[in-house]
Symmetry: D2
Subunit: 390 residues, 4 copies
């Protein structure tokens, strides 16, 4: 059995605030579990809703001191920055267009930021955030949570070690079916803002899940995307943003790929899949059974690499909680991002460099994903012409 | 997307102690994560080891007040029972032969008990614990954690609703490979006590994993086991307890089954599988991908029922945290047992009946599993003769 | 790409007759395709039915010379033995109780026999056939067709080469669902004779599919079954033969196993599965995707061995027709038995020894399976007592 | 059990000749088995090689009358057309550039043609063949064999019946790994001509396997491809034709899709996969386990439709040989194309219309695939610009 150190090693949890994530929100609860799972964070404040009553009610429901349930993130930043026991980090779990302002505000208040993806609704905002993060020296963590899976860490290490040889082809897809019908006009809050360009930005499925797919492929392969040829579609009548995206990819150095993102593919719940092929071997992974990685050294039988199982590399082992065969899931992967965030925050607080084995998606990754979205939207508007990332 | 209420609804976590689970123990860390995941418990005390220094070091490592890191569970029970902020519940995560005494002690101190399986090392101790639990009125939760998986709840509900018709055949297996070689003589602490009859009891693999398999099948099917014909083996030379178990099963009412438990089956990490067949349909489930349940109504195509997906029943939905396609794993299932424990403890504390939809393995389930182990050992010693549960 | 020699190398097909397999029979058509697939046999005569008109009609339908469509297998044996162009071999595809007489008759007429399983309805008949076959020196092939799959040949070779180390545990199952309801009283000809002890013999599911499971496990493992503890059941009301069988197995040398055969397990079409575990590794195979074999060397990742793929051994390669990834199926496996039969028949005809790499189930294998059925029936009648094979 | 009529119903096999398929060729052996499997054809003549000795040797090896083993297909057409027992149909199994001349010659000699794909090496030749076939009234069958799988027939019928609703997205891929290294310079005859533009035509992987993928998607969906945006690559240094193809697809009516064909993807043996999504449901199929089809009606659990199993439609049932769970494979699917060819040839011979349920790929399908290849090559040369099929 391969086990990482008991994660509950923190003598003191980091004080965390939250922006968004009020009653009825899905992702807020996910962040709260992820923050808590390894005992690294304690949620102590929040601006859960811009509606004061609702924020208070949300806070009360989860045991937040009423004085620290704010209606306004600006007030929260100001008040918390002044408290001796003020929050050290904030989780931003609002819709895309509401990432930028709170993120900037908290960074400038000296508070570390853990932010939902995509980074912002507009590329220019993303670039501005990157500047602010650099200037303030605060930790900025983007929750591309799928990079937290141990076998994804394994895959990255194997590619980096040359086990696949120079890469040639990358096939990535992220298929869902929950927007097959026009649920945005039937009361789905989750859907409403995601198909509204004023809130989601220029990409619909592209921003929501395509950004995850893009981030995952770059994390695992280490490749730099050079240009895209994109065909973005909105199949559901009346929908204003893309719900199905077909992209050709060209990477610096000659590798090529395809990316498919869809939210109208019946039969797919959360079908993120990555396949990578090099001169010497291939890898296959699917998120819905995230503990398995298939590796084929060319000319040999396919091998099943399992989380915590035989041949696990250190980079995977250090984020593994339970032995092989005891599946870890979505929340554990998400919690790993939080654990990595905690390590980074503690290092910065103590003036130490962030340990080199700590890995999390950064503001730079967020900017890169925004460049990807931007290039794809431009390509699609230009008859799918090959378009370089700006 | 199907979501249960945000679990972080507890205004105040229940104060929890732990017996065992010191440095290097696997299952202690699992209990700590499970207790914390939904915010229902706060670990505040522990007798992590019978070695005082080691218990103190273990407590320090995970942020326990040094005054509450005990070397002795008796002292802990006494001291905590006297504190105003004393523990309300205790998790017992020691080897089998060390369940009985602390469990009895804490129950008698008025403290609710969450205990590892199997219930005890000896059937007589199990029966005594059952009496004590009943007399004290404390909540007793046995961590047969696999009953916490949402689709296992779904399977149980489907059987109970008659979707399979009257049951005929139950095939259950629990296969691992970590004892394929004599690791107990090569330094594996995990293995040492499990193959020692003084610590594990009369069953080796049977007690360690066979008890899980037995509990799972009774939970899902609702059947009562009448008798067994068992062939228990120790394949590894020198091993004193069984590492491979073959059993025929006969249930009250005429259903029959087979149970295979093995810890010497190369290629199996944690292969718990259950298959149930009735007059009208069949179900198949495998723990290593616990979010999927296969259901075949006789004469129709096989259907894939997913956690949180289409056709999820309320009993499954109420223990579901994240949407379909976002896999929940071992720790979430384990945490559900803790969440159920919390619901029961709060109800008892408030003088309310435990809500009928709250489900957890009880001391009675533990006694039944001990009867199963006892009958199997007797059968195996008697040339695999059919042997009734005592 | 790994390819065997083009199978159509026979300058002249062997002349084949058939007993049974008239209109409406399933297995007769299977034998005809299998005989023809590699061009090794030409069907030229038949006693397709004991009803003269029906035999004639069946023969006409498939292009048999009317003079050679017999109503009686005895007449056929006599007539064909006298013709210069008479049949050299006969395929017997009748119900179990009608294997013995024609097999004996044709052997004694100097004609090679290819016979459906199980060998006979009664053990004594099987022993008599064994004597006759030996005395006549004719080739006797029993169509335990699953031994024809290339990856089953691979599995056998790997076990024989010691890649699993000494064997410990064998788990085999054969689950179907087509007898879940009482189709024998609803017009199913296939079912009628299979549940009639006068026609099927003492075993129902045991003879029909349990015999396949037994043969497969002995073929792959090379183990000798010493004794069984059996619990045979007829779950469908009114059924006179077992439709679900649970068996414990003990092999000479200390290995143990379980065998489950069922025809009332909804969700299983033709679920023959074999798993073998030794001191050094494990193998898993399932008939419904017969081109894949899973091999786990203990302590290493599981490997997917594919028909025709990397690491294919010569014994598998010589019965492989098309490259890896181009699935071969049930008929190809069946045809391999016919191809092996042809090799054996040609060798005997030419006075050569049968080449050592030619493998097919023999009359001895059939006798062994009858001993297995006999012991299981006796054990089940004797309260599942351990019973040695006679 | 669902069974088609015993296929061996032909009172007289159709006399077949072959062009190509001499010693060492893979696909020739496949055609011979496929032709023979259902007893519909008897191979009686061949121009197996343009080398006279080699053709004679090949013919001798498979039992062909020496007088009918020709060195030249022209001579064969002439001689056979004059014989009373001359061939009625010819199978052309040569490399792509050698399809056109023999096909034209045999059609003009009044002989039906069964031809390997892609139809020709050049689009203009394909158009000429289409004219010749129409003028002669001979049957022309293109062996896009994957359309012979029963569940592919099922998928087509389900789409046609509207079970998926109007189609939106089609994802098709065909991945192999056998050209990962430069085997064409290491003695692989199979590889040599496939990477030579003079023999294969303008498409490498695109013609070899992309044409299959294209044919399959149009067969199942009934969609008409309007235009493509293609990025064709040759990753192996020195290779003159594409070995990896990335294409975006736009269909008439608004559906869109992606097509990936690769022969350099380690881990893929013969990975043809098709996924189709409509407004009401989705279908998934993978060739390596061709007996399974996954169907998700939107909002319901995924269903496993099996060959011969529950809900099989008549169009699938009529090409099914053995019951569900008894897998049919590549050769059976290929043989179905031959069986359909036989039905068509017999109808034409008897002056009857070809029965409407008989389905096989035609010369028109071949022309369409050539248009697809042509458009893809033009698009790829034009910076992946959207290019209409000519």
């Amino acid at each position: 059995m391969v086990l990482s150190t008991d994660p509950m090693t923190a003598p003191r949890p980091i004080r965390l605030g939250m922006v968004g994530g009020g009653q009825g929100a899905f992702i807020g609860a996910v962040h709260r579990i992820a923050a808590r799972l390894d005992g690294e964070f304690a949620l102590v404040a929040g601006a859960f809703s811009s509606d004061a009553e609702r924020s208070a009610a949300s806070g009360a429901e989860i045991g937040i001191d009423p004085a620290r349930a704010y209606a306004d993130f600006g007030a929260m930043a100001e008040a918390e920055a002044e408290r001796d026991d003020g929050i050290e980090a904030v989780a931003i779990v609002t819709p895309n267009h509401l990432h930028f302002s709170p993120a900037k505000t908290f960074l400038e208040s000296g508070i570390h930021v853990i932010c939902e993806k995509p980074l912002t609704a507009k590329l220019e905002d993303a670039l501005e955030l990157q500047r602010v993060a650099a200037a303030t020296g605060r930790v900025f963590v983007l929750t591309h949570n799928y990079t937290g899976y141990p076998v994804i860490r394994q895959a990255r290490a194997m590619v980096a070690a040359g086990e696949l040889g120079p890469l040639r082809v990358v096939q990535v897809e992220y298929a869902q079916d929950w927007l097959t019908e026009a649920v945005e006009t039937a009361g789905s809050k989750q859907a409403e803002w995601r198909v509204d360009p004023d809130k989601a930005g220029a990409g619909g499925a592209l921003g929501d899940i395509g950004s995850h797919a893009f981030n995952l492929l770059t994390f695992v392969t280490g490749l730099t995307l050079d240009s895209v040829a994109a065909d973005l579609s909105a199949f559901v009548p009346g929908r204003r943003l893309d719900d199905n995206d077909h992209l050709l990819l060209r990477f610096t150095g000659g590798a090529k790929g395809m990316l498919w993102a869809s939210q109208i593919a019946p039969g797919h719940e959360n079908g993120l899949r990555l396949r990578v092929y090099g001169e010497k071997g291939g890898l296959e992974w699917a998120q819905e059974n995230p503990n398995q990685l298939w590796f084929t050294p060319f000319g040999e039988p396919k091998r099943l690499i399992t989380r915590g199982g035989a041949t696990t590399v250190p980079a995977a082992q250090r984020v593994t909680r339970v032995p092989a065969g005891h599946p870890e899931g979505y929340l554990e992967g998400f919690a790993t991002i939080y654990r990595e965030a905690a390590s980074a925050i503690r290092a910065v607080a103590e003036g130490r460099p962030i340990p080199p084995d700590v890995m999390f998606p950064t503001v730079e990754d967020g900017v890169e994903a925004m460049r990807f979205i931007d290039a794809a939207v431009r390509s699609s508007s230009d008859d799918s012409r090959w378009t370089k990332l700006g």
